[in-house]
């Protein structure tokens, strides 16, 4: 095991992580993965620690994944589902956070529709903050579990070609994955309707393509992103049908990728839109492995943030 020490108090952006940090998280996660396969799926590591899930956006799997991770480490967890509209009724986000802080939690896991909110909390309260997705900024634990899944299947991340297809502009998953995979030496390519490819994406570390076939050409990993149907105030593309035809990942698309390319999706999938059902359920799909690894990654993050050593 590595002797690299994890120095971070918060997990907000993968930009703050070195390749050694990412390696360490993946290694610790691997070592924790076994816990989830035991008949008694619990270790006492975080006994007496208080963890609050503060979710301002609806979430099923991420919230559950963090909660299961915390419980398997024996931490006490509390869930708060708030809506941003209730914040408008009076209490500001910082006030909410300060009230939570007064109850002495060790970690606050935050999801919010506004980019940058984890920094706002970190600047105003003393608890550790884990970003479970902020607006269209980042979703670091998702990218870590994606990297873990790829590494398990491919043995390495360096030198791989990763193609991410779909709504890059509004995807915090894409942003964290672009940062993470390129830090680990992978070559990241993106494609989708040009209305959904943000300016300067190459500065973040991804090569944009107009054709999805070019993006997935010889790729080791093909990741499709969830398309949000509810962005009607901005005319981004004409119809889901046309989206599925030209930007959906299908058997035809995969012909351009390497024969053993992994198929990934951060979920939840709109089957038949961003990905055909046969691909999502096919032999190349690792979508459910991503979910399994999510718990291990989140256990590792909670452990490392609470001062755990590399050789767990």
């Amino acid at each position: 095991m590595t002797t690299h020490r994890f120095q971070h108090k918060h997990v907000i952006s993968l930009r703050d992580f070195s390749p050694e940090d990412i390696d360490l998280v993946l290694q610790v996660a691997e070592s924790f993965k076994e816990i989830s396969t035991r008949s008694i799926k619990k270790v006492p590591t975080l006994r007496g620690k208080t963890i609050i899930n503060l979710f301002f956006e609806p979430s099923t799997r991420t919230k559950l994944s963090f909660e299961i991770a915390a419980k398997r480490m024996s931490a006490d967890t509390f869930n708060i589902s708030a809506s941003t509209s209730s914040a408008k009724k009076g209490e500001s986000l910082v006030d909410t956070a300060r009230n939570l802080e007064a109850m002495n939690p060790d970690i606050i896991i935050i999801r919010h529709s506004s980019s940058g909110v984890p920094y706002l909390l970190a600047n105003n309260i003393k608890s550790s903050i884990i970003n479970a997705g902020d607006g269209t900024h980042e979703h670091p634990s998702q990218a870590l579990l994606d990297m873990m899944t790829v590494k398990e299947n491919k043995g390495t991340l360096a030198g791989l070609k990763v193609a991410i297809i779909g709504d890059i502009t509004h995807s915090r998953v894409a942003h964290s994955n672009i940062i993470g995979f390129s830090k680990m030496g992978a070559d990241v390519h993106v494609a989708g309707p040009s209305t959904l490819i943000p300016p300067g994406i190459e500065k973040i570390g991804a090569t944009p393509h107009l054709s999805i076939n070019n993006a997935v050409k010889d790729a080791d990993v093909v990741m499709a992103l969830r398309i949000q149907k509810e962005r009607q105030e901005d005319p981004l593309f004409p119809s889901l049908r046309e989206y599925a035809t030209f930007f959906g990942v299908s058997r035809k698309t995969l012909q351009f990728a390497k024969p053993d390319a992994l198929v990934m999706h951060p979920g939840p999938i709109n089957r038949g839109i961003e990905m055909t059902a046969d691909i999502a359920d096919g032999s190349q799909s690792v979508i459910l492995e991503q979910v399994t690894n999510g718990v291990a990654i989140r256990m590792a993050l909670l452990y490392l943030i609470m001062g755990g050593e590399g050789g767990a």
Binding site: S114, G116, T136, P198
Partner: protein, 427 residues
């Protein structure tokens, strides 16, 4: 007006209107300002102030200030804003009408001027272009002007309806009105929080493309040319806007323009980790734009430096970035930031005085902007060498929302005289 006479000795006297730039002394006596060169014998005065090494210039005029009174007095009042103004070297400020309720009628203008009687700086109200800033009917320019409004603007919002803008310009001709345009194509920046580009992508924030300003700048230029109404373009922030204005001026269109110190001092990178004190509209742009703004100031395309002083409390600023209010305070940092341009030799000291005093006076048609021959005994003294750190504790404005907090500066205003009376002294 002070009954006493005041002798300001041995300053560098810079007055672009009379083309003065010389070491000498200035006597302020019963509202008359007169110059004495170094060889002349100095008159006696009831008060004397030694100013060697300092610049003595006509009182600075900020033609773009939000005073928040009436309606949001917890952010700023007419009196508190005027205190910040004189601390920053401004002897007069024009206040934008987007208060609650807006300054869209004669009574509202009168109310501001009544309150202004208690203020340290001279206050020039700007009336709205449209009733209630609703963008549908022209406000009463004639009545507001009679009450003391110096220009008209819906600032804070664009006049989106082109026909209304055109009619307002035509109607303004009867009153010799100057319209100040907040030029922005709103449909391009739906919920935008910062400049659109590499950094908005990196931060995951919705962008406001530069084209949103440029399209609207061109519309307003075209309408000014078509109607002949004098147009002043507020807070110019992009390279292409500067080019469009340069071209319009070359063609002789009746146009002037302003930028704010933050647009030549900061880029979008100042947002850093979602610093809401770097959030304003138009947003901070890129280095390319900063360079073009500086070029525009240098070659006269941009006539005025105005602060767009926009006070907000922590209630509006300690929030999620996309929910935080737009705007920063600027009255107290404008002189120091503009002096940076003088030190970089982008503009001369005389040009600085044109941008901050002579030109705004001319555009608004108000007294001042010059020292002698009917100058208003409004005087600003600047120490170009004074070093200081601008801290939150030092902020005079009621609100503290400045991206320049904790910056070290060289040069500041040290003495401000309004109508012959010393209203600020940091000598």
């Amino acid at each position: 007006m002070s009954q006493e006479s005041l002798l300001l000795k041995n300053a560098r006297v810079i007055d672009p209107f009379s083309k003065t730039d010389a070491i000498g002394s200035v006597l302020v006596n019963k509202g008359e300002v007169s110059f004495f060169s170094q060889d002349q014998e100095l008159p006696t005065a009831s008060q004397e102030i030694e100013l060697s090494g300092k610049w003595l210039v006509p009182g600075l005029i900020d033609m773009h200030v939000h005073l928040r009174e009436p309606g949001e007095e917890y952010k700023e009042t007419i009196v508190s804003g005027a205190k910040a103004a004189v601390a920053g070297g401004f002897t007069a400020i024009a206040c934008m009408p987007n208060t609650t309720p807006p300054t869209d009628n004669q009574q509202a203008v009168t109310l501001i001027l009544q309150k202004a009687a208690q203020a340290d700086a001279k206050i020039y109200p700007v009336g709205t272009i449209s009733k209630g800033i609703q963008g549908s009917e022209i406000a009463e320019f004639g009545e507001m002007q009679e009450a003391g409004a110096v220009a008209f603007s819906d600032d804070g919002r664009p006049v989106s309806n082109s026909q209304l803008m055109r009619r307002a310009m035509e109607y303004g001709l009867n009153y010799g009105a100057t319209l100040i345009s907040h030029s922005e194509e709103l449909s391009l920046c739906h919920k935008g929080a910062m400049n659109e580009g590499n950094w908005s992508t990196r931060l995951g924030l919705r962008g406001i493309p530069r084209a949103a300003e440029e399209i609207a700048v061109y519309r307003d230029l075209a309408l000014a040319n078509y109607t002949g109404c004098p147009l002043h373009l507020a807070h110019i922030s992009t390279k292409e806007s500067v080019s469009l204005i340069r071209r319009a001026k070359k063609k002789g269109w009746p146009v002037t323009s302003e930028t704010a110190p933050h647009y030549f001092s900061l880029t979008e990178e100042a947002i850093g980790q979602y610093d809401t004190y770097a959030k304003m509209n138009p947003p901070l742009r890129t280095q390319e734009d900063v360079d073009a703004i500086k070029e525009g100031l240098k070659d006269g395309t941009i006539d005025v430096i105005a602060t767009d002083h926009a006070p907000h409390s922590d209630l509006e600023k300690t929030l999620e970035f996309d929910m935080a209010a737009n705007g920063i305070i600027g009255l107290e940092t404008a002189v120091s930031l503009t002096l940076n341009l003088v030190r970089e030799e982008i503009i001369s000291a005389a040009k600085m005085v044109e941008l901050l005093s002579m030109n705004p006076a001319k555009i608004l048609g108000v007294d001042g902007g010059k020292l002698f021959e009917g100058g208003a005994a409004d005087i600003t003294v600047i120490d170009p060498e004074r070093t200081y750190t601008y801290t939150r504790e030092n902020v005079v404005s009621k609100s503290k929302n400045s991206p320049f907090l904790d910056w070290d500066f060289t040069g500041k205003s040290v003495l401000t005289i309004v109508a012959g009376r010393v209203v600020f002294n940091d000598l």
